[in-house]
Structure formats: C-alpha cells, structure tokens
C-alpha cells in the first residue's frame, strides 16, 4: 500500500470522549468501553488520567486498585500480538499511567505536582539555583527558615567538629550521640510538618474551583512555604547522615 500521510481526523486531541478508532463506538479515556482496545493518548494531567478531581486527599488503596485495573488493560504485554500502532499507543498510555501513579501515590510528589499545575515552578527554581551555585563553584545558598536559625547554627558547628575529628582520626562518641539526637529531632520536625501539610490539603480540597482566587493563592503559598521548609530539613538530615556514615 502506498504510504500516504494519514490525518487522524477521527480522533481530535483534547476531546474527553470520541469514537473508538477500531470499532467506532464512543470510547472512554484510555480504551474503548465496547471493544476494549487501547486508544491514542490524550494530553491530560495526572488527576484527570485517573478520573480524579484536583484534590490532595486521595484514597490510596482505591488509587492502587485503579492502577492495577488500568495496567491490565494498557500494559504493552497485553498488546504483544497487536499491530505496531496499537503497540505504540499502549506504550505511551502505560508510561503515562505509570508516571501518573508514581506521582499521585507519593504525598510530597502529589503536592508538588498540583502546585505545578497551579503555576508554581518549584523544581525549576531550586534546579536553576543549584546549577548557578555549581557554575560558581560554591555551595547552594539556602535561606534558613528563621525558626530553624539557632538549631542550624548549632548543628553546623557539630558537623564541623565531627569532620575535624575524623581528619585527626579521633573518636568522640559523645559528639556522635549528640548528632544522632539532633537527627531524630529533625525527623520529628519533618513528621510535624507533614501533619501541617495534611491540614492544608484539607483546606485546599474544601475550596474547589469556584473559590475566590485570593483564597486559592493563600493556601497554595502556604504549601509552597511548607515544602521549602521541609526540603531544608531533609537536606540537613542528609548532611548529618553523610557525616555519620563517612
């Protein structure tokens, strides 16, 4: 058959429902509800992919069940005998499914993702800062959250001391103990922050799309601020771990 460019006029991207390319019946998002065949992927966000509203409180066992169900229908293994085009769609659909599941099942990734959908570029900010710092050859300067100032100062002193000791080949069990204590305090703080975050999730979920923009921005910014603080603490914990393990 001559290879003419085909314009898939039957399937318009962005349409929530359309006709199945194979049997012509109206189809659901990812596969035809009538004949079960995989459909070309439609660019949607991860919440929509799972048919979920943009809310942060998620029923995780329900999400997992849905992930398994969709996997059974979309995974490339199911299309091993199908045509090239169907295999390609299945590959794209199941990678989208896996990407979406990975993001939504993790509470932090889910929050970050929602914030990105709301126009906040969390990662890009921190990435470009990291890159700049690296090019300049110095450590990434992070603004210490005021509430942590004193603690961070003390911790850094201890870390320096530990490094100096290690250089001299000395052991200071007391110092190690203190650092471990510090670490568990930081971990407790992380847990508290997580509880605080869950509070904001509920605030956000109550707002809905119709809420005034200021209200949405207010909750959004509270979450951004919290994630920044959390990141900072996570890095501290990592530094302490590195120092203790090295």
């Amino acid at each position: 058959m001559a290879s003419a460019e085909s314009k898939s006029s039957l399937i318009l991207p962005g349409e929530a429902t359309s006709a199945c390319w194979s049997c012509g019946t109206m189809r659901a998002q990812h596969f035809c509800s009538a004949c079960g065949k995989v459909q070309p992927p439609v660019p949607v966000d991860y919440f929509t992919f799972f048919g979920l509203p943009r809310k942060l409180n998620i029923n995780l066992s329900g999400l997992e069940r849905e992930f398994y169900e969709l996997s059974r229908k979309l995974h490339p293994d199911v299309y091993a005998k199908a045509g090239k085009q169907e295999q390609q769609w299945s590959l794209e659909q199941s990678s989208l499914l896996n990407d979406a599941y990975r993001t939504l099942k993790d509470p932090i990734k889910r929050t970050q993702y929602l914030l990105r959908l709301e126009g906040v570029e969390l990662e890009e900010q921190s990435k470009s800062a990291t890159e700049k710092a690296r090019v300049k050859g110095d450590l990434k300067k992070q603004v210490v959250p005021p509430a942590l100032l004193e603690e961070v100062f003390e911790l850094n002193m201890q870390l320096e001391e530990l490094k100096a000791n290690k250089k001299l080949g000395e052991d200071d069990p007391g110092l190690v103990k203190e650092l471990q204590n510090h670490k568990s305090q930081l971990e407790n703080k992380q847990a508290t922050l997580f509880d605080e975050l869950k509070g904001y999730w509920t605030e956000w979920d109550k707002l809905g799309d119709a809420a005034p923009n200021e209200d949405r921005i207010a909750v959004r910014d509270k979450m951004v601020d919290l994630l920044n603080r959390r990141n900072y603490i996570r890095n501290l914990v990592r530094d302490v771990n590195d120092a203790l393990e090295s």
């Binding site: 460019e5 085909s6 005998k81």
Partner: protein
C-alpha cells in the same frame, strides 16, 4: 495463533536454556544430547565451523585460543570497562580495536562481537527448540539480569536479531523466576528474589497481588557471580604451583582452563561434602593436588559473597521494607547451591529461603511463562501481569558535568520524562544532549548511554526555541528519545550516537552474515522478510483506516479488505513464506484503491484555497473521485 510459538530463553553467563509452556506447565527443552543446560561456550573447530555448548567445552582446554566462555560479561561494554575482566578471563580482543568501538573477540583468526557470539548460543537454542517442535521457532522472550543497563539490554536484543529471532520482550531474570514460582501459588505477599548466577547478581523485591507481579525495588551487580569464585581459586592454584614447583602457568591457556575445570568441580563438591581435592595434570607429567576443606572454602569466598549484602540492603531501603516485612525469599542461580550463600541469605532476611525449583532452570521456566502471557495467556497464566522497574536512574548532563536525574531508579516501566531545552547562541541550529545512566552525582561517574544531537532547529534568537525532548523507557528497559521544537511545531531530528553498541546497519549486516552459515537458513530468512513485510502493510492499513479516504470506499471494498486483513494476520506467523506472500499480495491488491484515495486527500489538502472542481485531478482509473461519496451503510 497456535502456529505462533514463543519460547522463553535464559541466556546465561555459564549456561543457557530454552523453555516453553507445555499445556499449563513450563518445561525446559533439552538439546540433542538430552541435557537441559547448554553451556554458554562457543568454539571454532578445525574446519572453521562454529560449535556451541557441551560439544564446545573440550575446545576450551584443547584450543583455548579458538573458544570463548562467559561472553555475557562483555555484552554492551567498551574496552575501558573491561580491564578487570581482561585480567581474569582469557578473552582475546582483536588487535585493531579502536577506543569507543564495539568489542571484537578473536576465535582463531576470525573476530566476533559479543552480540554475535551470543547469537551463536541463541541459534543453538533455536535449533534445539526447532527439533523438539518439528518446526522453526522465530519468536522469543529473553531474560537479562535486572541490573543490566541500557547498553547491555540493547546488546542482548541485537544478539536476538542477529540470530534471526523476533525478541518480543526482555524480562529481568529475578522477575522471571518469580513468575515460575508464582504460577501455582497465586497468593498475595512480598517476595524477595536473590539471584546469584555465574556472572551476575540481582536482588528484586516484588509485591504479589491477584496475579499482578509488581517489582518494588531492584538492585545488583552485573559483575559478581560464580565466575569470581572460580577465578579466586584459579589464582590460588596458580600461585601454589609457582611457589611449590617454580612453574608459571599464568599465560598458558590450556593449563589455566584445566585448573578452571578442576576448581569448578571442587566448588560443586563442597556443596555436599566437608572436603575435596583439587587435582590437575600439568605438562611434563607433573601434577598439582591440594586438599580443600569446606571451612577454608567458605573463608575464601566470604569477601565475594559479602558483596551481595549491600545491594540487598539498598533494595530493602528503596522498597521501604524491613527484613521481617518480607514474606518469602526465593533463591535463583547456580551459585545459590553453596551452603554459605544460603546461610548468608537466611541471616539477612531472617527466614529460610525457598529452593523448591531448580535454581539453574527457574529463570528459563519463568521466561516461558512470560512468553505464554504475551501469546495471549492460558488458564494458568490468565490474569498474570508483570510490572517491572528500571534498575538505574536516567539522567542528563547539565552545566558543570553534573547529572540531572529525570527518571529515578525503581520507576515502573514503561516510564517517561519530558525535558525542555533552548539555544544559547543566536541562530543556533543544533543542541547536544548527553544521556547518562547511574546513581552518581557526576556525569563522568555515570554510564554514558548516548549523545544526541538535536538538529534542524529553526534559526531564532538565543533562548527563544523551546525544544521538548521526551525520554521513554519501554517495557524492555530500553530508552527511546523523541524531540519537538515547540514554537515551530517541527519534529527535531535526533542523531543518536550510542556510546557503546552496534548501529542498526551493523546489526542488519550481521543478520545477513549469519545466514551464510547454513543453507537451511535461507528459507527462514525468507520467512522473516515476508513477516516483516506483512507487518508493514498491516500497520499501513491501520493508519489508512483513520484516513477520511477509508470512508470513501464502498462497503464491499471495506469488507473485502477486512477479510483479507484477517487472512493475512492468520498466516503471518506461519513457517511457509509463500502463504504469507500470497496474503500480502492479496491485501495489496485490495487496498490499491484506498491508497489512491489517500494520495488524493493528501494532494487536495495541499491545494487549499482551490475548490474541488477547480482542481485538475485527471481522469481514468488512476485518478479516482475524491468528491464522490461512497455509499454509507
């Protein structure tokens, strides 16, 4: 399709196997000699004929310069990666090897790449299966170590292609093993698979639920296995001989291979006995004999088997699990027969490991299960689905030689990530991207997968182009990249320079070369070509169905095409190329009109602004009528 047999292949460092589902049970297909295991040894005999398996083993000792083993260690690797291997293994590289080139191994005065040598092994397995079924086998699932990187996977796929196999899926070895284990006990739970083979170590942790086998974390070492134990014992024996007798046999291939054979026997015996003797006949009528106690052996190998602990801990950490949260531990790979390895696993996971299935065969059996799933499943595999992960993070080199990770390890595959790039100079047309695999912070410490050049970016001021690059890891764990310049909507051209590995052209020419070996293969080649062609026309037809031209066909025409399509699909897997060709020709004939209509649609859409009537579309049968509506049902 019943004519379409898909076999499962375990392409191992030491031994390779082929298996299939017989009814509802996976079974290993034996070779002509009745043995299930085909040693992964390839030799070139006096007549320059390739010999594989048990028959090739004697050449290891008689003509070591014309034989090779453990080739899996070299798959997908460059010369700078294998310096350690070269110290320990008698691999003879081609002298004219250039840096960055795919390795070539000398057998006599011929040279072969690792994928070609692996292909010889695969062809032996194909022959075994062909003899067993009484018909040629062309489709296979091949297993790879879970911790294999992209280049190693690609090399394995290339080996399959060179051997004339359609590799439907690469499956991770520990995951395959879990399929074999999970077949008759469909229960829920968390399983750890500890796989210590001849040359590779993998640990995978899976969650089993309602037939879904979901890998949560995997880790390993692609250069750790029974080989390392053998090499240690060989070194000790060589040192003994040098110390006691003043004889240096380190460069004598025949003696080294004789010692290797003896220490392997000793190693195996020590799994059942408290002591053994290593006995080797040396040239000049001398002999070497040494008693080895199991305790001594265990002390010697401790540092080697301890290297499996780190990956196990990391996998558990990544899975977020403690040893007591793991319900079952499964042992895979010949090296798990060593009692010390078993006790190490028992201590680490705090439970007795499962050893119900033969650790040498379980991976091949699992591959047969996966092959059965891909073929459409049966009663025992119904509802079974494998969700595997990528073992290594995928990253991009950013400013300062740093790795920016875009797909993290242990992400379920298929997985994708999208990155945006722009230009730094006005009018810049190309952007270079360096793709890396690994966990390290610095790009130079990660594995370089490929360098991509995005070409043909429309000239714009610096920073204006917005190039979207999509990275996609498929279900085989192999990376695909596509790019699009978003402002112009133009697909950017990607020129891939794989850091290691064969180009498509090289693989194609090797496929052709490999057919020169036997005349019987000529028929097989025609079958493969006919199948490929059938695939092309079927894919084109699928595309055509979405074209408006499809609606312009009469319902009779469409019915006829549907019928012939079905007919072609039903013979596509046949072993007789003539019936496939017939199907192709018939479908080709029937779709001629559709193709013409599609051409016209394309022409018409180019001539926009003109009405249909103004357009001179010519006359006669070669110029059909795009405006004439076909009868709609």
């Amino acid at each position: 399709m019943s004519s379409e047999r898909i076999v499962g292949i375990d392409l191992g460092t030491t031994n390779s196997l082929v298996a299939h589902m017989e009814g509802e049970t996976p079974v290993v297909i034996p070779g002509e000699d009745g043995a299930n295991l085909v040693p992964s040894v390839v030799a070139l005999d006096e007549n320059n004929q390739i010999i594989v398996g048990n028959a090739a083993r004697k050449y290891l000792i008689e003509t070591p310069e014309r034989s090779v083993y453990s080739i899996k260690r070299l798959m997908g690797r460059g010369i700078e990666d294998i310096q350690e291997e070269l110290k320990l293994f008698p691999f003879r590289l081609a002298e004219d090897l250039q840096p960055g080139e795919v390795l070539r191994i000398k057998l006599g005065d011929k040279t072969y790449t690792p994928p070609e040598i692996s292909a010889f092994i695969l062809r032996q397995l194909e022959r075994n299966a062909g003899r067993y079924f009484g018909t040629t086998v062309t489709k296979a699932v091949i297993t790879v170590p879970a911790y294999f990187n992209d280049a190693q996977r690609q090399a394995t796929k290339d080996a399959g292609r060179i051997a004339g196999l359609d590799v439907l899926r690469l499956v991770n070895e520990p995951t395959a093993a879990s399929l074999a284990y999970g077949l008759d006990k469909k229960k829920a739970g968390t399983v750890a698979v500890y796989d210590l083979g001849g040359g590779t170590f993998d640990i995978s942790i899976l969650k089993l639920r309602n037939g879904i086998f979901e890998v949560i974390a995997t880790n390993g070492d692609t250069h750790l296995g029974g080989d390392d134990i053998d090499n240690l014992l060989i070194t000790i024996a060589l040192d003994d001989i040098r110390g006691d007798m003043g004889l240096d046999f380190r460069r004598n291939g025949e003696v080294v291979q004789a010692i290797r054979k003896a220490v392997i026997e000793a190693k195996i015996q020590l799994s059942d006995r408290a002591k053994t003797n290593i006995i080797v006949d040396l040239p000049g009528g001398k002999g070497y004999e040494r008693e080895l106690l199991r305790e001594q052996f265990e002390q010697l190998i401790q540092p080697i088997i301890d290297r499996t602990v780190g990956p196990c801990r990391q996998a558990m950490k990544d899975a977020g699990l403690k040893p007591e949260q793991i319900d079952e531990v499964v042992l895979v790979g010949g090296s798990t027969r060593i009692p010390k390895v078993r006790s190490l696993v028992k201590d680490m996971f705090q439970r007795d490991p499962h050893i119900d299935l033969n650790p040498d065969e379980v991976v091949a059996l699992g591959a047969a299960v996966q092959a059965n799933i891909l073929a459409g499943g049966s009663i025992s595999t119904e509802n079974m689905l494998l969700l595997d992960v990528t073992p290594l993070s995928l990253g991009i080199e950013v400013a300062g030689g740093v790795t920016d990770k875009i797909i993290l390890r242990n992400s379920t595959i298929p997985a994708s990530a999208t990155q945006h790039y722009t230009t730094q100079v006005d009018g810049q047309k190309n952007v270079a991207i360096h793709v890396l695999q690994g966990e390290r912070e610095l790009a130079s410490d990660c594995r370089s997968l490929a360098r991509f050049d995005l070409k043909g970016i429309p000239p714009m001021a610096a920073g204006i182009p917005r190039i979207e690059v999509k990275f996609l890891i498929d279900a085989n764990g192999i990376l695909h990249v596509s790019a699009r310049e978003q402002r112009s909507g133009k697909e950017a051209e990607i020129v891939v320079q794989p850091s290691y590995g064969l180009t498509d052209e090289q693989v194609e020419s090797m496929i052709l070369d490999s057919f020169d070996y036997a005349e019987e293969d000529f028929r097989k080649r025609q079958v493969i070509e006919a199948r490929n062609e059938a695939g092309t026309i079927l894919a084109a037809l699928e595309k055509g169905r979405q074209n408006p031209a499809w609606q312009q066909l009469t319902s009779d025409e469409r019915k006829k095409i549907d019928k012939l399509e079905k007919a072609l699909r039903s013979v596509q897997g046949d072993e007789d190329y003539r019936s496939i060709r017939k199907g192709i020709d018939a479908l080709n004939q029937a779709t001629m009109h559709l193709a013409e209509l599609m051409m016209d649609t394309a022409v018409v859409s180019v001539l926009k602004g003109k009405t249909m009537d103004d357009t001179d579309i010519g006359e006669g049968p070669a110029a059909p009528h795009p405006v004439a509506r076909a009868d709609f049902e």
